[in-house]
């Protein structure tokens, strides 16, 4: 048997401060674990997430990027996630169009009360990305060690 190093994906999660980041805190308090491959970046609102950040993450070696925000209608800033939803819909569709795996990007609406959903979503996402394997199509070889 060849000794193959187990593939551990790198996953960036953009979480809005008011819902999803609080949801992640709740997941933590409730000890609802999810893989350490997920690293969270706190943003004020999902509408702060620029498509450039997502591409940047892939460039720098991320294998999956997930954006989590308040449920539509519950945005702390009333409308931010609606705009974010349109932007991500178009961006993801474009990535798909360019032949970049659709599953590498995901949007979830997770409220501050949904610690369980946060954990479940992250577990699922890690599984999906692990199954997909390394990000090859949006990588920047200069950033590989």
């Amino acid at each position: 048997m060849q000794d193959v190093k187990e593939f551990r994906p790198k996953i960036v999660a953009f979480c809005c401060n008011w819902c999803s980041y609080a949801g992640a805190d709740l997941a933590g308090s409730a000890r609802l674990s999810y893989p350490a491959d997920v690293k969270i970046i706190r943003v004020p609102c999902s509408c702060r997430v620029n498509p450039m950040f997502i591409l940047r993450a892939f460039q720098r070696g991320a294998d999956g990027v997930i954006m989590a925000g308040c449920h539509p209608g519950d945005c702390h800033y009333t409308s931010g996630n609606y705009f974010a939803r349109r932007r991500m819909t178009l961006l993801f569709s474009m990535l798909d169009y360019l032949g970049i795996e659709r599953e590498r990007t995901r949007v979830e609406w997770i409220s501050a009360a949904e610690g369980a959903k946060f954990s479940k979503t992250m577990n699922e996402f890690v599984d999906t990305i692990t199954a997909l394997g390394e990000n090859k199509r949006l990588e920047d070889l200069r950033c590989k060690k």
Binding site: R142, C143, K145
Partner: protein
């Protein structure tokens, strides 16, 4: 003079490629010619010329210079230079062949650009005389003979065969290495082919274009010429002309932070860009007029001033064909005084 029967062309390519990498113009997925590595089955393009010039071989669009890394308080520097191997470029036209001399005059004078020099030394240029020039061609204006290109080896296509002439030692060596595929050539056939080509060249719409009004010593006269305003008015400031130009040689040095260290690379720059030669105090040329003027003054005045009257343009016509708004060096020359 040697002769290569076209029936043996593939054998010839195979024999060359067996020793060193062979590049030649090939049609790409949209039917335009670009230089590609020869492999069995690859066919040479019949196009007059490639979209990008052959300067890429010696002066590529991007090139890593070195890397460095900070660990704690110290900086480590790594030489990332890759050893250049011998290669042959086949099918270079007279204009591009002439452009190498212009690049040499920049990069091979002190301080010598060692990256460029290494490539030049390893490269053998096989040129191909033109037989069907286009309306955008005006190499003759600069004294370049499309029917008799320079290069290490020159090739003419005559009926059913190529005539090959080695011009340099490198060229001799190349032909010697494939001697068993070659027969003795025919000087007369070449002369006939040249005469044919020259007859066509004389009929081209730009055949009468002269360098009158531009050239050595014209800086004062032309710098404040009122025509620059209208000529540059529609320029978009894109870099298309400079990037397809075989003689444009400006580059920028940039650092890329990979997260694990810095990669320092150089890449083509364009004097048409607003951030060209931007320095601490700002830009030296603030308006598109100044930038536009710079490009043409450089090719038509400053360069000849410093190089015994040799112009910085070889008349390949790429910028004429590619400029999004069809403003180009020919229109500039005509406006500044050159007669058609």
């Amino acid at each position: 003079m040697k002769k290569l029967s076209l029936a043996k062309l593939n054998d010839f390519f195979a024999a060359v490629a067996a020793k060193e990498t062979l590049y030649l113009p090939v049609n790409n997925n949209v039917g335009k010619a670009e230089y590609k590595k020869w492999e069995s089955g690859v066919e040479m393009s019949s196009a007059l010329n490639t979209v990008r010039s052959a300067k890429d071989f010696f002066f590529p669009q991007t090139e890593n210079l070195m890397e460095f890394k900070m660990t704690g308080k110290s900086v480590e520097v790594f030489d990332t230079r890759e050893e250049c191997e011998d290669f042959v470029i086949f099918g270079v036209r007279a204009c591009d062949a002439a452009s190498f001399a212009i690049l040499d005059s920049v990069y091979l004078v002190d301080p010598v650009d060692s990256y460029y020099k290494s490539r030049r030394e390893h490269g053998t240029v096989v040129t191909m005389a033109c037989s069907k020039p286009a309306e955008t061609c005006f190499c003759g204006t600069f004294g370049i003979d499309a029917a008799n290109p320079a290069g290490d080896v020159t090739v003419w296509e005559v009926e059913g065969a190529y005539m090959l002439r080695a011009n340099t030692e490198k060229g001799e060596a190349l032909l010697a290495s494939v001697a068993d595929l070659l027969e003795d050539g025919c000087e007369k056939c070449v002369e006939e082919a040249q005469a044919k080509t020259r007859a066509i060249l004389a009929k081209l719409p730009l055949a009468g274009l002269t360098t009158e009004g531009v050239g050595v010593g014209k800086t004062k006269e032309l710098f404040d010429h009122p025509a620059w305003a209208s000529l540059s008015e529609s320029c978009l400031g894109c870099g298309t002309c400079t990037f397809v130009c075989p003689t444009c040689q400006c580059y920028d040095v940039r650092d890329f932070d990979t997260g694990n260290g810095i990669k320092r690379f150089r890449c083509w720059d364009s004097c048409m860009y607003s951030d060209f030669t931007k320095m601490a105090h700002g830009n030296s040329r603030n308006s598109q007029l100044e930038r536009f003027r710079q490009r043409f003054m450089h090719k038509l005045v400053y360069y000849p001033d410093r190089n015994d009257g040799t112009f910085g343009c070889v008349g390949c016509g790429r910028c004429l064909a590619r400029c999004p708004i069809s403003m180009n060096i020919v229109k500039v020359m005509k406006t500044l005084g050159g007669k058609n």
